[in-house]
Amino acid sequence: MSSRSPESEPESTVVDTVVLRYFLLVDRVDILFGVLGSPLVLSRIVFDPDDPRADELSMSEIVRSIHVQTRRASDPTRTREDREQARKNGERLSTVSELVAEGQMAVVDMTEEERRLFMGLTSVRETGEFGIRLPLGYGEAATLAVALGRDLVFATDDNDALRALDSIAPGHPRKRIRAILIEAADAGIITRAEANALHEEMRDLGFWDRESPFPDL
């Protein structure tokens, strides 16, 4: 793993599935670029621009989400509102392809060293060493391995991944969704009211964080 002095702040950020997914779903991925800079780094497990979209089990995580949302959009057992929401979700998630093609996001494969950490984080036998109860999801584990291997800010809202990060490198910089929204408001990219509204929209889409960015507003 690369070493980092406590004073220096990494210049780039690697983004996990959850963070990318919710900013794509609310159609405000520009906030990620405004706060975290660009290009943002993605693991190939999170999104693979060369994904052949074969069996669902083989898909990268964002492509799988697009696939699931597309299927829901034509599922007659769902309400019309659900289908319409799924269609919109699928469309918004799909914009990731353009962002990668434009160079605003860079997709990486893990190095040998990063892969070793990834293997440990996803192994039932080794989870105890990382302070987690169950193996991490592959996307989270790969993103964490890349963050540590390349000394990048780790953008995640996955508590298990954060527990693992704390056990490996307690001071390593990380960014959660709420903090990103707060920074965006502080930087004037959005208003505080917009930050709260976006957070609420994410919650309506399944995001689990219960506290608003600006609860006193």
């Binding site: 074969a54 083989s58 192994s123 592959y138 996955d158 689990w208």
Partner: protein, 398 residues
Amino acid sequence: MSLGSHLARARERLGFRQEDVAKRLGVTRTMVSYWEADRRTPNDRQVAALARLYTVSPHSLESGEGIETRDEEIAMLFRGADTALPLGARPGVEQFREFVDGYSRLAEAAGVEIRGMLQSPFPPVSGAPSLDDARRKAEEVRAHLRAGLGPVADLDAVCELLGITVYRAALGSDLKETISGGFFAHPTIGFSLLVNVEMTPGRRRFTIAHELAHALFHSGPRVKFILSGTDKNPRERFADWFAGEFLMPIEGIRRVIEEHDMGAKITDPGSVIHIQRYFNVSYATALVRLRQGKFLSPASYEDFKSVRPVLFARALGYDTTDDEYIQDPDDWRILRFPRRFLRLLRTAVREDLVSASTAAQLTGLSLDEITELVGDQAFQGEQDRRELGEFEITGIGT
């Protein structure tokens, strides 16, 4: 040993051909052979996909650890099975094993004790029992459940009441070649049943009842795993008879026939359909049970076999489902898990005992499905938690 040789071993273990893997991953067969010969290396997404497909961790693929151990475990489990495990069913059986282990780990992580059935409350049945023996045993179980003589509407709920876990997986659609289900006594989760989803709804229900017979009457210190295939030894015949009696008690059939003035003998297939739909069993099961109860003459039994039961049921005004015509394993996604497990998973994510991504990894479901499950308001958190550790017999009505 290299990554390539581990990939080959993991693939062969589940009976996949290189073509099968190539199709699932969207690559050429040549590429799969290159990976296995260490001439090319799969990228990160492909490694993740191969681990999922082979039901092992990426660490096992890289190191080879666990692949052989798992093979030995499976071989040990199946040593006592009456039926050889067909290759096509291996991935589904592996998923089942992975599921019960994962369930156990999730319960431990959530601090919940799964009080599943670890020992049957009924004495074991051995030797070559008769149809009458099976009938008596079915009556005992119905009495234990206070189920009366009517149809058992929800077999999953019956199993949950008994502390038995039911999991569904694709085990193959050629039922002459594959297995319909299995029974496994897990050391912490307890008795667990496996059901092949590539069967009609009636056959799936029959399989649950059949596996229930294995759990209640054939389990013991030396019987941990039973596979139910086409081999009809005394144990399998007993389980079949038990399932028929449990789902369609002869006295229950008699009562329906009398209430609907169908006469001493059934003379039209429409009545068979009415009885089949009432008890929610397959048409074949209804025919066999009516013949066993002597409500149907041997000639009518043979004659009615040619009926197309789903179309006929529609003609009689019954609602039918696509699932009765064609079975798509993909329809099962979240539904393949027992409700009790899903309640535990939802509570664990809501209470931040595990993250949504971890839950997705554990189940093989997408993050979208996990967030939908967690957001489902059908169960409240307190109710979920109260129900998690409880199994009790409260009766299922008559």
